[in-house]
């Protein structure tokens, strides 16, 4: 039987990224994907004729440009188009918008608070300082602070130097920032409730935190540290939907000689004599390999694909305790035309951006309370976008695709497990709320896909439906991701690795975990170790 150099479990974008780097290094790589399609949470599917949905993730910023360049992804169809602005609508028919033009943006904030408008530049400089600090770490293996190995010491020294470069005030600011709540962070700059609410959303997307929870400021940073063509914090659409990112990675992989098998669910990793020997598929087929890298989340990798007996008990315990709480849902809607929004001019450029209806931090917290109580939010936070306003390939001309990301949706409900009826009721909650702002929305709906954490878990394989493959809190970031001592992409079985969003630098369509893991694997295989 043929022995591959590396088997990658899961054709999520990180698995594909790792595989492409490995194949380009001359290794024989096979990717095994459970679903009949690739992409994991970076996927585009046509569920209604003529309409392409970005079924899970919907916008791109985190995907590292170094990876696009290394793997030549534009050649395989990757095109990212930045979008313009965004707005938060209010019940009384007004809104606050963000515009790309600085002066337009300032005037718009000033409509609500002249003071806050002037504070905005201070706020963005503070966010940018944090971005400058963290961005160089994204494509680096996190150094282990307890290690005395030269590479760890070098890594720590680099971080230490970047930290010192912040200056005394910047150092204090940074230490506070990493543990701070978004509400406290915003209070330092803004006083108007609507202005604050407008900037709050990215601090709670995908997490089990509210804007008043410590750590939520970092989640905002996680959404700002990306870029589109050098504009830090900018977001864009992948032409053809987020699946186009995965397809371009697959293109690069195949061009480098790698292969992908879909409909190939891995049941377990085969370990012989304390080293990896390959994997067994659910139908019993065994495929051998010198190394296995899992793109699944930490929980699944350790608790489902591996035998507890092959691993240290502490690691198994860490996997069981790994915070991977689901908190999000998603609606994908095919629309017969462009809906109108009360009070918003039809030609407002901000409509091409992200739309929201949560007006105060208080409302965010109430939505969060529902989640803690085991219910979906009665007035959820939505991140609503109409990608077809920008990307003409998503729908037939004149029709539109609406993507609605919804926060908060618990993985389990207080009154028992999710059912299809409850899922539909959840969908109705969202549409009813939005109909207050867009009276013609309901009549335009041709088809709607509703996804709760249950669907995300079952269809994408994200435990509890956690979109980041694990909570983005300081206790689970950097050298603590996914668990202390295991942040360098290796598991303590020779030849066993992880490359999913459960590893540093975490979730989002970023590719960095995959690229970092590949670098470690290549180094090990070259050194002849672990193989």
């Amino acid at each position: 039987m043929k022995t591959h150099d590396v088997i990658v479990i899961g054709a999520g974008h990180n698995g594909l990224t790792a595989a492409a780097y490995l194949a380009r290094a001359g290794l024989d790589v096979l990717v095994l994907e459970r679903n009949p399609y690739i992409g994991g949470a970076a996927v585009s599917r046509e569920l209604y004729p003529g309409f392409t949905y970005s079924n899970c993730s919907y916008v791109s910023s985190l995907m590292r440009p170094e990876i696009m360049r290394d793997l030549d992804l534009p050649r395989y169809g990757l095109q990212i188009t930045p979008f313009r602005g965004g707005l938060t609508m209010t019940r009384d028919g007004d809104y606050i918008a963000s515009y790309r033009d600085r002066d337009m943006h300032r005037r718009e904030i000033a409509r609500h608070s002249p003071r806050d408008a002037e504070s905005y530049d201070r706020y963005s400089a503070a966010v940018m300082r944090q971005c400058r600090f963290i961005r160089p770490m994204l494509l680096e293996t996190p150094p282990d602070p307890t290690s005395l190995l030269p590479r760890d010491l070098r890594g720590l020294w680099r971080i230490g130097r970047a930290f010192r470069d912040l200056g005394p005030a910047g150092m204090y600011e940074t230490i506070r920032f990493w543990t701070m709540s978004m509400a406290d962070f915003l209070d330092q700059y803004f006083e108007n409730d609507l202005v604050k609410a407008h900037f709050t959303g990215s601090s709670i997307i995908g997490t089990g935190l509210g804007p008043r929870s410590p750590g939520s400021a970092y989640v905002m940073l996680h959404h700002h540290m990306g870029e589109v063509d050098g504009t830090i914090g900018a977001w864009g659409y992948a032409r053809g939907g987020m699946g186009a990112i995965s397809r371009s990675l697959a293109g690069a992989l195949e061009a480098a000689g790698g292969a992908i098998r879909t409909d190939a669910p891995v049941a377990r990793v085969i370990v012989r004599k304390r080293r990896v020997a390959g994997v067994a598929l659910e139908d019993g087929e065994e495929i051998s390999a010198r190394a296995v890298v899992s793109g699944m989340d930490f929980r699944r990798t350790v608790l489902q694909a591996m035998e507890p007996g092959d691993l240290p008990a502490g690691l198994v315990k860490a996997a069981r305790n790994f915070k991977i709480r689901g908190s999000s849902g998603k609606l994908n809607i095919a629309l017969d035309g462009m809906p109108t929004f009360r009070g918003v001019p039809a030609d407002c450029p901000a409509l091409a951006g992200d739309l929201h209806v949560t007006e105060t931090i208080e409302e965010f917290e109430r939505a969060y309370d529902d989640w803690k109580n085991g219910r979906w939010s009665r007035r959820p936070y939505v991140d609503l976008m109409i990608p077809s306003l920008t990307d003409p390939t998503m729908t037939p001309p004149g029709k539109h695709y609406m993507s609605i990301f919804v926060q908060y949706v618990p993985p389990e409900l207080a009154d028992g497990p999710w059912t299809s009826e409850k899922r539909d009721a959840f969908g109705r909650t969202v549409i009813d709320m939005l109909s207050e702002y867009s009276p013609d929305l309901k009549d335009l709906i041709l088809h709607m896909e509703v996804r709760t954490p249950r669907e995300l878990e079952e269809e994408v394989g994200l435990t509890e439906g956690n979109i980041f493959q694990g909570e983005l809190t300081l206790d689970q970031l950097m050298f603590n991701r996914p668990a202390p001592g295991y942040a360098q992409y290796r598991l303590p079985v020779r030849g066993m690795y992880m490359c999913g969003s459960s590893t540093h630098p975490g979730g989002g369509v970023m590719g960095a975990p995959g690229a970092n893991a590949a670098r470690e694997i290549i180094a090990d295989l070259r050194a002849g170790k672990r193989a």
């Binding site: 440009p65 696009m68 360049r69 992804l73 534009p74 990757l78 095109q79 990212i80 188009t81 930045p82 313009r84 790309r100 033009d101 589109v228 063509d229 050098g230 032409r239 920008t390 990307d391 003409p392 390939t393 001309p397 004149g398």
Partner: protein
């Protein structure tokens, strides 16, 4: 030009001005051949991405257009241009350069073969004097028809879709560099599958008094396809990605240069493929034959530069100290996701696979930082989508 305009305004208005002026929210104008042209209507990013993503309109009316007619039109052009015009069939377009007697490039442009005895030559610069002087002894009449033809470039992946929505029958079958003729309520409308973006695209030509009707019909047809008017800044980014050179940016037109050493031959501009020594005599042939023996002094190349900071104007070094060239056009390419540049290098350094560095200065909050960025010579175009060549043209 109307009489009143002689002293009233330094810049003239193109036939599309009534539309472009209204749409120009950013109030950024540029000048081109004596006309006011829009540099940016709204936001550079918005306009640039529309080129690669949807469809765009750019007013090319200021382009200099020379009509060459007469029984010797073909013979005349074959002597003028370095490539073989006899191979250019009616209703086809070709890219071309022409040189002076020393084999130095005067300009580049496009040749539209409208008939056996009629050709249009389009260029960025003015050439009436040279063209007429060269006509001595030929039955060829050269007229400047620039003001008689209004032009719009419709470029982008949805450009064919827009033309289909405008009901231009059979447009999808038009091959790259082909010309098709249509009717615009009684006036001829000429469509060529040409452009400056390196993408799927067309150029539409008609009489100036039909310009606004053409604009309106295109915008109406394009309403569902995100048809976006664009300015010259967005176009410039696309043309760098396409790897196209521009006169007086990437080379100095020979007859404008004061310093003779700045003049460049087609070989030096990387246009070897356009020089056809087999076709018989043409202007500059002897000098170019000599140069073919001795080799060019310079080479215009495409560079892929490490990092993301555009290398505009950067000096190029071989090793740390030896200065070997200059970047003439540079950009971060949002579509190729590379830091690209066009550069002129001393010929011996134009096949180096290693050791080339661009010196880039970046102003970081009032602190200049100098970086040496590694350069790799790469083939152009930097971005080359299959849709550019596909016939029938794809829908998007």
């Amino acid at each position: 030009m109307t009489a009143g305009a002689r002293h009233e305004a330094p810049l003239l208005k193109t036939p599309f001005h009534p539309r472009t002026a209204v749409l120009n929210q950013a109030k950024q104008w540029g000048r081109w051949a004596g006309y006011a042209t829009v540099a940016c209507f709204t936001e550079l990013a918005h306009e640039y991405f529309a080129i690669r993503h949807a469809a765009t309109l750019f007013d090319v009316s200021p382009m200099k257009k020379y009509r060459i007619s007469g029984t010797d039109a073909e013979r005349y052009l074959n002597r003028l241009l370095t490539r073989d015009v006899r191979k250019l069939r009616t209703d086809r377009v070709a890219y071309a350069v022409w040189c002076n007697d020393d084999g130095k490039v005067l300009d580049d442009g496009t040749v539209f073969r409208l008939g056996e005895k009629e050709v249009l030559l389009m260029a960025q610069e003015r050439h009436l004097a040279w063209l007429q002087d060269s006509a001595f002894g030929y039955d060829a009449t050269i007229e400047d028809v620039s003001e008689a033809i209004a032009g719009l470039a419709l470029q982008g992946p949805l450009s064919c879709t827009v033309l289909k929505a405008m009901e231009l029958d059979g447009i999808a079958q038009l091959k790259p560099f082909g010309i098709a003729r249509f009717d615009l309520s009684g006036t001829p409308l000429t469509v060529s599958r040409t452009g400056y973006t390196g993408d799927l695209g067309y150029e539409l030509w008609t009489e100036p008094d039909k310009a606004l009707e053409l604009w309106d019909r295109l915008m109406a047809a394009g309403a569902l396809y995100r048809l976006t008017p664009i300015g010259s800044r967005a176009l410039d980014l696309a043309r760098i990605e396409a790897g196209f050179i521009q006169a007086n940016v990437d080379f100095i037109a020979a007859d404008h240069s004061v310093r003779m050493t700045r003049q460049r031959s087609p070989f030096e501009l990387g246009l070897d493929w356009m020089v056809d020594f087999d076709k018989g005599h043409f202007v500059g042939r002897r000098a170019l034959l000599r140069e073919r023996e001795t080799g060019p002094r310079y080479r215009l190349v495409g560079l892929d530069i490490e990092g993301s900071k555009p290398a505009a104007g950067a000096l190029v070094y071989y090793g740390r100290a030896r200065q070997v060239g200059l970047v003439t056009s540079a950009a971060w390419s949002p579509t190729a996701k590379r830091n690209i540049a066009l550069a002129t290098l001393q010929a011996p350094f134009a096949d180096k696979t290693d050791g080339l560095w661009a010196e880039i200065y970046v102003n970081k909050e009032l602190k200049w930082e100098k970086t040496a960025a590694r350069c790799r010579i790469v083939t152009r175009p930097f971005f080359d989508p299959p849709r550019r060549r596909a016939t029938p043209a794809p829908d998007f």
